[in-house]
């Protein structure tokens, strides 16, 4: 029980510190922290200038983790990400680590890189290591990639293929700040004092948090509910929802189910419980599933977004999740 309390307190401390730098965007901050606790990478989608880089930077400061930022461009090569062997003064090849060798990596505008570079990046994300010149180099632990992509300016971009999107634990949509938040941002950034987050946790804490998350039990009925959510995104098969049948080309992969349950566990601890609830799963579901469903033409024609479709899917699953004791 003390462990759970420690988890929550640490999480809250980091959040508080990050919030000192980031105004508003509470959901995004929480999402990123949940991804971090669940060992998952996060894809942030939003307009430029919404504080994505600041968020990652602040996070690294609060957690005293290494932070690197990679600005992806079409001419970027995989070696620019992973690192490469260079001939040193001793006339021997020496591996020079790329920016991916950090605890926190911000892959800015990842969709601007060529598929080749994207795939090198995503492979490293998945394998938590890179192989150069036949030699494998392990990445630092904890390792978290936060990739961003701009929903506009699609010309000259290489949208991430579905298989690669699936490797992101969460996809978070960064909204515009509210007027009040904007005023706060302006006030903070144009004044004299600059607030820097303090380090309240360390890499070992993150690793401990991750281990703790895995111990949270999930009841069968809750697991069944989570799986029903995932299966309902499939356009065909048992448990498929009418909305998915109509608007989805592909549904979530099993990795989606894994991510959903893991995220649910984090939310359970955050909510002060020792069990995952259906509410936890629903809280995580949109961030987990929105980039894992592929819409068809009809969805685009009807103006359906993944979030709208997921809302309908939740309604469908909830309607089938009835009280087992009918009285």
């Amino acid at each position: 029980m003390e462990e759970a309390i420690w988890f929550r307190e640490t999480f809250e401390a980091v959040r508080t510190e990050v919030k000192k730098a980031i105004v508003g965007q509470a959901d995004i901050v929480e999402g990123v922290l949940v991804g971090l606790a669940a060992s998952g990478h996060v894809l942030l989608e939003g307009m430029p200038g919404l504080g994505k880089t600041l968020l990652v930077k602040s996070l690294s400061q609060a957690l005293s983790l290494d932070f690197r930022r990679i600005q992806f461009t079409p001419d970027m090569m995989p070696a620019d990400v992973t690192g490469t062997n260079v001939l040193n003064e001793m006339r021997a090849f020496e591996f020079r680590k790329g920016p991916i060798f950090a605890n926190l990596v911000l892959a800015d505008e990842i969709n601007r890189a060529t598929p080749k570079t994207q795939s090198a990046m995503l492979e490293a994300m998945q394998e938590r290591g890179v192989t150069v010149g036949g030699h494998r180099y392990e990445l630092a632990e904890p390792f978290l990639v936060m990739a961003t992509q701009n929903p506009i300016e699609q010309e000259g971009t290489y949208p991430l293929p579905e298989a690669q999107l699936d490797r992101f634990f969460f996809k978070l949509i960064v909204p515009y700040p509210t007027k009040a938040d904007l005023a706060e941002v302006v006030g903070r950034t144009t004044g004299e004092s600059v607030v820097e987050p303090k380090a309240v946790a360390h890499a070992t804490d993150v690793i401990r948090m991750r281990a703790l998350v895995r111990q949270v039990p999930v009841a069968h009925n809750v697991l069944d509910y989570g799986l029903s959510l995932v299966v309902a995104t499939h356009p065909e098969g048992e448990g498929s929802s009418p909305t998915a049948q109509r608007y989805c080309r592909y549904g979530s992969s099993p990795r989606g189910a894994q991510s959903l349950i893991t995220a649910g566990k984090v939310y359970a601890l955050l909510n002060g419980r020792f069990n995952v609830s259906k509410g936890d799963l629903k809280q995580a579901a949109k961030a987990v599933l929105r980039h894992r469903i592929l819409l068809n033409f009809e969805a685009e024609a009807d103006g359906m977004t993944p979030d709208k479709i997921l809302d309908e899917i939740f309604t469908f699953v909830d309607s089938n999740d009835r009280d087992p004791i009918k009285v």
């Binding site: 039990p217 809750v222 069990n275 009280d323 004791i325 009285v327």
Partner: protein
Amino acid sequence: MSEITRRLSPFSRRVRLVRAWRGIAIGASVGALSAVVWSALDLAGVAYTEARYLVALVTAGALLGALVGIFRQVPTNSLAQSIDRRARLEDRLSSASDQGLDAGSFGEALHEDADQRMTGLKPNLVYPIKVDRWHGGAVALSAVAAAIFLLGNTPFLMGADARKTREELKKEGEAVKRIERENLETPEAKKDMSEAEKKLADELRKFQHDLEKARMSKEESMQRANELAKKEQDLLKQTAKETQKNLNTAKEAMDQMKKAALEKAGLQNMDPEQAQASPEEQKEAEQRLETAKAQAAALQMQLDALNKKLADPKLTPEEKKALEEQKKSLEKQLSDAKDSIAKAKKDLEAMALSKEAADIMRRMKNDPLYKELQEMAKKMAQDADAASKDPRQQISDEERKAMQAEFKKLLEQLKDDAALKEYMKEMLEAMKHGASMGRMKKMCLGLSALVPIPGNGSPGNGVMMQDIGKVNHSQKALPGEGSTTTSVITGAKRETVAPQAYVEIKAPTTIGTRSAVPYVKVLPSYRKKAEAALDHQEIPKDQEKRVKEYFESLGH
């Protein structure tokens, strides 16, 4: 039992209670729906029902629903999930119920958390007893069923005449019901009823139902009662015929059984009642045998000695001739002695067999089946005797010949003890069937009391009062059935000359002859009605005089 399971127990009991409450509503709704259909069919005249049946149906449905609710299982996991939902415990209980105390490092904390959350949680608040749509449905459907039933069964909704007719028909219906109860609903009757009787009983029941519901006019009721009575008479005739046949078969079978037993003993000509020889006879036969044997031995010795003498060569021809004559005489005596021995032996053997035959007879008489058979035969003889008075119930020569052929076959089969016993059983069954004749007769008399039954050559078609004439008060009331008497009215037929017999009950109609209005009290009103009918020319011209004379004769 874990702490969580223990804490779930009161909730489980509560769920059963609430389920029972809901089950009552669901069961009552189903019962009420069935009651609606039933009462609608009753209203349409397709089915018959009474208020108590409808109430019983709804009650039975409610009771069944309650029982299902109480005894249906409440799985612990389902209960935990349900409480989680209702008390907004965020799946704490279901997780604790699903995961044991040793489930990872959070097992204990999980159970402690769930336990803490359950403190102060009241089962009656989680599962309140509510009146839901099923309860509303049960009440509404019951009301509809009651309304439909009352629509067809409430006299207030009818006119004065219809009400009066209904009351009269209802009384008749009650009387028919009494006949049914006395004759068809006894345990013996239910057990022994033949198919034809069952069919008739069903028709009678339907008639009684229709009467109770006043689904017909008085005329129709008379007509139907008439038809039923005719059917009963036919069945009575048929049953009487069968009984007679069974009786004859039984009698002959019993005779044949005795004969077969004696045949087996080799005493075909012996009187079955005196099959056993006396001890004196037995002794005398034994003495005869001994004497004959001694005689034969002596003669044989004499003959041997004579043969030796004859073998002597010194004998003169005269001596030889004399000896040979003596030998012939001895041989004849010896032959007679041997015959005597054989006869005595045969007699003794026959006597031994007669003893065996007597044993068979004794065993048969001691058999409870035989006794039952005899009693049944006696009873049937009485019934058959009554039935045989009707000339139409006599058995034809052809039938008798066929029966004789059957007996011959039987003779062959009855030579064996086991076959005898089997046959007795079959006979008993046949007789039991025949015994139903008495029941049918009672029924027939009961219905006859309700309506006039046309006899041979009657005009039929329910025109009962056209042949009128002399009243014959010959028939007596059935024993123990009140003072109403039936009367046979004979008269000249309108067109044919055949004699006619009607059984008529004096008005007002009563059934079962339990009560009656004295004859003289009702006569004036009937006379008035007849006169009114004459005035309105309802009576055919050629019968007017006869009707007048009839009522005048009654007046005297």
